[in-house]
Amino acid sequence: MLFNSIDFAIFLPIVFILYWFVANKNLKLQNALILAASYVFYGWWDWRFLSLLLFSTMIDYTIALQMEKRYNQNHRKLLLFLSLAVNLGLLGFFKYYNFFIDNFTTAFTFFGGTIQPNTLSIILPVGISFYTFQTLSYTIDVYRRKIEPTKDFLSFAAFVSFFPQLVAGPIERASNLLPQFHNKREFDKDEAIIGVKQIIWGLFKKVVIADNCAQFANEIFANHAQFSSATLILGVIYFSFQIYCDFSGYSDIAIGTARLFNFKLMVNFRYPYFSRDIAEFWRRWHISLTTWFRDYVYIPLGGSRVSRYKQIRNVFLVFIVSGFWHGANWTFIVWGAINALFFIPLLLSKKNRVNTDTIAYNKLLPSLREIISLIITYCIALFGWIFFRASSIKDAIEYIRGILKWDFSIEMLKIERFSFEIIPLILILLGIEWFSRNKEFPLFSTKPNYIKVSFIIAMILIFGSFSIPQDFIYFQF
């Protein structure tokens, strides 16, 4: 079920009413309703994969309980490996099987061998990368004795499948979300109002910015060979806003929806294009994934408290694995490596934590130095996005070559639009975000005011792209 669909517009009020008017007296009933709603939400896409979700839930629930019973560290480690093997095994099979077979075949052929590739026609279950990481965080934290395993299967199953963030995050930690399932939720008017505003803001980003940019970006990336440098630059700028608004829009709707049920999810994006260096960018972009890799991969490898060589190795490893998490394609790996290359100099010069505050705090405009830093950081991000969006490394290189042709003609696209037509909408978004950069999201306020919200509703009605519905990009990850 898509957040920007009529189905969800009907589903959400029904669940809300049942939750607060029927199940409000009983915690178990509240959790049971969340679980049922989550399975309906997920099954709406393909009910067959519910079994996978249930299997993953049962495995991690059982393993965590078994871990608690064992005092022998080796036994606990064995159980952790079992959890890792099952979860990553499923993820690996559904997401990476064909990639590895293809690459193995290519490598084998390269060295003169002959082999018949045995690829399979596999459907990638929506959200598998997200809920796998969420359940893994639970078993790892139980292993590390950071949290107690839960004995309440209903709460655990609801935690794993919680519908607002099930298919595209934020990837929640058990330490934050699971305890919320153990406590009865009371209706909180302020949180609910903030939630509604966050949903509206998320919708604005999705249907006004992301979906409009998508039409242009898709057209330009698909036919990049025939476009001028100016159009190609616009194409990657459009993609940068498409992916940002698509994904952060989804996160806003997810967090806002959770707020309606009095759940607090973690912030996933903090105005990443207002970053002054690439390290700051990664503290503001897909925060739930970045911190997941920090806590469960980077720090266990020694983080930055190791030799220089190992620091470089750790950063590369984390960024490349993070890239690979996005999809089974070399383009994502290169995207990760590019980000690592720009991150490492900051780390080695100990400048990776220079910009931890909000840019131009308490000022109307940034300084010239800050503007230059913003532009450089954005250009680095753009360079990475070319690889992220291109369908192959070859396409990405051709795209960059096309930009270097240095031809700045304005063009009409096949979608019967001039290449520059969406720029005013992007500028409106940037303006709104700039003046709200100290808030969690621009409409954040407990006051039930109408003016700003009405403006955003009008923008959605007038400029929202509804004729060509676009899936959320991160569903494919």
Binding site: W20, F187, K189, A192, I193, V196, Q215, I415, R417, E421, P448, Y450, V453, S454, I457, A458, L461, I462, F463, G464, S465, F466, S467, I468
Partner: protein, 291 residues
Amino acid sequence: MKNFVKYIFGLVLILVAFMYLLDFIYSNVYQNGAYRNKVMWMNDLKSESLDFVIFGSSRANNYIVPNIIFDKTGQRGLNLAIQASGPLEIELAVREFLKNNTAKRFFIQVDYSYNKETPDKTGQLSWLPYIVNNNVYKVFKPYGKEYFFYKHIPFYRYQMFDSRIGYRNIILSGLEKGLDYSPSRGYTESTGKLKIDKPYKFSLKDKQNPHLININEVCKAKKIELIYFTSPIYKPEGNFDVLKKHLPNYYDFSNELQNLELYTNPVHLNKQGASIFTELFVEVFFSNNIN
């Protein structure tokens, strides 16, 4: 909870108010603004008494130049063919034209879309702003529940087809960036170059089309001479004999003009091709009127 419900109710009211307001503005632009499509132009035609009118899709719109016909024969006519129209949209165009105007002869272009009975996804778009009119609505109504919502939910139709009838058209119309159909009397040029030299294949089912039957009846009642024809196609491969069987007064030009240079794609002529075809059209249908 009470305050929250009040807040939601307030937001819903704002949403509904915006929908009514925007519907009012957009509909007004489609009634009075600069022309963004041919239906807008056709709606402004009043008390025209013409010698002929051409109906059909872009395969008529890009093919017949009324000014050439006028120059050669003195016959006054319009090309009211609308891009992507199928038989349903053609019937609608015929009916809407006849509300305020009349003509002696109707030429209707039919082709591989002959069997289509439902609205065309693109062809319907020019008509959707006017679906609130009962005459337009009753043509679309049998073909899906969505048309009920397009008629009754304000602004919904503009939103669902925003890329074609949404804010872009409204802004351009408001800025007087309209399309002027009058100098060419409705003819629009197709641009581009046909590059692929291969047959254009299609297959028609042997059955009547209800919309064309309706057109036959309307023309009979109004005593308008009705002529069906098929415009040239580059290397057509199919069974237009079905059209000959079911349509009165049918002429097949599909095999004419088999010169690749005259096409922008296999089913559209360029400007030069349109001139040549219009001259052929004059010879066949206006031989008695040639000056």
